[in-house]
Symmetry: C2
Subunit: 440 residues, 2 copies
């Protein structure tokens, strides 16, 4: 008699046959005696069609009206899914975000959920009905419809699961679960039984497209176990949790990820004074552009603290600062928008040089185990070196190591890193065990 | 500084160009300094598309879910119209039925409006914004989305006008207003400046397709002046009100109407005992089929009260009743559904014969003036007789006379009746004045 939230994405409800198939998955859970709430996204092309309609009327449609418009996509899906369930003899009731009590802030097109009132869901459970809830949307305190932006429907599902204290939130996708690496690139990649929230979050932000970072983050915060499953095939999928089995978490690295289409902006010879960074990143944030990694290094020989004679001279001119380089990466598609912003900042600053690179990729190794197991970085660098891959930049967090490299090397580098940590093997061999020595 | 509600139908918002055109009409009113609320229907084919989607999943879709689905049609329209208004520099805000405080009963697919909370509309007026409201929909006290059924968007517009005490409710259509008869059939039909609610209601129910009966009825009840206008052409249209000019209301007849595609069911030789009628009409109502006219006559020679010897015999058998015939008309398309229901009732009854006719039409003369002016019916019958038109059935109400006749005679009969009352002439001539004598 578990309580389960099941989420079906847009491709899973694209046509009548798929909707019926998903309804069958819901019916299975009901037959087990579980209380089931369902979250659905807009059908396949509906959102694109609605955006095109808006585009005919306005080059930059009002965001509130855009939300009112796009919310119809999910509203259509919930009605159709409820009809399909009723056609199978199940009692079902469709609920918009507003009807389901999903309250958000007023940031149209990228609202954040403030609270979910579980009253309606619980009364539907009590009546034996399946509530079918519109993902991706909510309502403000003043009754305006909002949408949640990227990863919105996954986030809705996890938020509902948290609100009703669900035993599990099932995310149905077009993959069998979370793999040790993208199986389209690494054919012997292995399906994971479990993965930790932190690992999944890093993997998601490093290019694994199974689930959106934001939903995993909420799952971690609310302690909701999330299971990623294939909507068309049966299988146990992958459980995202913090109480996974020891075998997985004993590994230093659990997954390897590849992110492509990366652009890189290098700013060299900047006077490193307080407020330097915001000169660039305030502008970029105001334009709504997400930056991926930021790497700042102090420039040797150009006034850096370890710059010897140069340092002394520079230090005499501007005693509180040296010079530095800032490198940041972002989606290649955003480079054209970012370039004039950065140039304006450089003009204002009166110093520094700009260099832009396209055609980069990032390979990451992710695992909570690396916090306690040294030598992980060294092994990754050795494996890439043995394969003849040149590393352009390195960034690390507590549980991941990322190397930026030529896009042409990307797929090979992913395989190399995957195999260096024996991720394809379900058992960690002695050769695969982490080695002693400094982690990085 | 008037308060105006403007309603635009589905064909008026079918594409971006038309939406922009309607936005221009709204802008004109705003420039006059009026407070304007707008009601829009679903765009051209949207409703049909949504119904087709539901049809793929269920032969008889759940009505609550159908409402949730269809409500998206208007929600799409209000967002697009608001974007168009904002593109013209007007402040606008789209409101679903729920957001606008339109409360209905729980009769899904044919809900009736219980109340409209004017708070949101008034605050939008105060802020100088144009509220753009979804027609055809409302919400129950428990937050379920409902639709209002036929004539729903017109009804929404009139209900909003009543709630905010609007000076006028403007219904934009694809005709210039209300004519003395359908100008496609009677080329010299005249556009009316004003018409009374009662006349418009009769004309609407007798086949004039300008406005739905239900909205006019609400307008009368709430005292809302309704103006019917062409959405693409400028003009004063026709004002529906009870305070029209004397010239119009002095006429016995104000409009003539033609209704085609009528089917007729004749039930002969029925034993006229209490409860006879519900035996037929309960079944038909339960199937959701609307019946137009019902004519019952007691059968001569088969137990009717004036049946002499037959009556006496029959009376001896069943002292409380004689025999009767019931004739009713309905949309020709509904005949196939009605036939088995009527046959079942006849079987249960054990008496009576069924006869079905297709290919009938109804011509009506409508006018509040006929209440006080005798001879109207006689003039109509004479005109039809002079034109060689055979009348199959006659029904009347306080302010209309209808003749059912062969569909082949329909258009000619409409012209004949229109001209018999000199409706094409703006001034009533002495020849056109009502004659003395019995009205019928």
């Amino acid at each position: 008699m578990a309580v389960i939230v099941q989420k079906f994405g847009g491709s899973s409800v694209a046509d009548a046959a798929r909707i019926r198939h998903c309804a069958g998955r819901i019916a299975e859970a009901k037959r087990r005696g579980d209380s089931v709430a369902v979250v659905v996204s807009a059908r396949g092309d509906t959102t694109d069609d609605l955006i095109a309609l808006a585009g005919e009327l306005s080059e930059q449609p009002d965001k509130r009206e855009m939300d009112q418009l796009l919310a119809c996509g999910e509203q259509i899906s919930i009605s159709l899914m409820s009809m399909a369930l009723k056609g199978m003899g199940l009692e079902a009731v469709s609920l918009t975000g507003a009807q389901c009590g999903i309250r958000t802030d007023g940031q149209h097109t990228r609202a954040r959920i403030r609270s979910v009132d579980p009253t309606r869901l619980k009364s539907e459970f009590a009546a034996g009905r399946v509530p079918v809830v519109a993902g991706f949307q909510g309502v403000t305190d003043s009754g305006d419809v909002t949408t949640l932006g990227r990863g919105g429907s996954d986030t809705t599902a996890v938020a509902l699961a948290a609100a009703v204290g669900a035993d599990e939130c099932e995310i149905y996708t077009d993959v069998d679960g979370v793999y040790t690496a993208d199986p389209r690139v690494v054919p012997h990649a292995r399906l994971l039984d479990t993965i930790r929230y932190d690992e999944m979050m890093e993997a998601a932000s490093q290019g694994a497209r199974v689930m959106h970072l934001r939903a995993v983050e909420l799952g971690k915060k609310a302690g909701v176990p999330i299971r990623v499953l294939h909507s068309m095939r049966h299988g146990r999928g992958t459980l995202i949790t913090d109480t996974g089995n020891g075998m997985e978490t004993a590994r230093a690295v659990s997954t390897a990820a590849l992110k492509t289409d990366i652009g890189r902006v290098t700013l060299a010879g900047l006077p490193n004074r307080p407020g330097l960074q915001r000169l660039f990143f305030d502008r970029i944030a105001a334009a709504g552009i997400s930056v991926d990694d930021i790497i700042q290094t102090e420039a040797l020989g150009l006034g850096g603290k370890e710059g010897g004679e140069d340092f002394a001279r520079s230090h005499a001119d501007t005693p509180t600062s040296g010079h530095c380089n800032i490198v940041f990466t972002l989606d290649k598609a955003d480079l054209a928008d970012v370039k004039p912003l950065v140039e304006a900042a450089l003009t204002e600053l009166g110093h520094g040089r700009l260099h832009i690179d396209l055609g980069l990729a990032k390979v990451s190794a992710v695992g909570v185990g690396m916090q306690s197991q040294p030598g992980v970085a060294a092994r990754m660098f050795k494996a890439l070196a043995d394969a003849g891959v040149r590393i352009a930049n390195i960034t690390t967090s507590e549980i991941k190591i990322s190397c930026i490299l030529d896009e042409a090397d990307g797929k090979n580098a992913l395989k190399v890193v995957h195999d260096a940590f024996e991720l394809g093997s379900p058992v960690v061999t002695s050769a695969g065990a982490a080695r002693a020595g400094s982690r990085r």
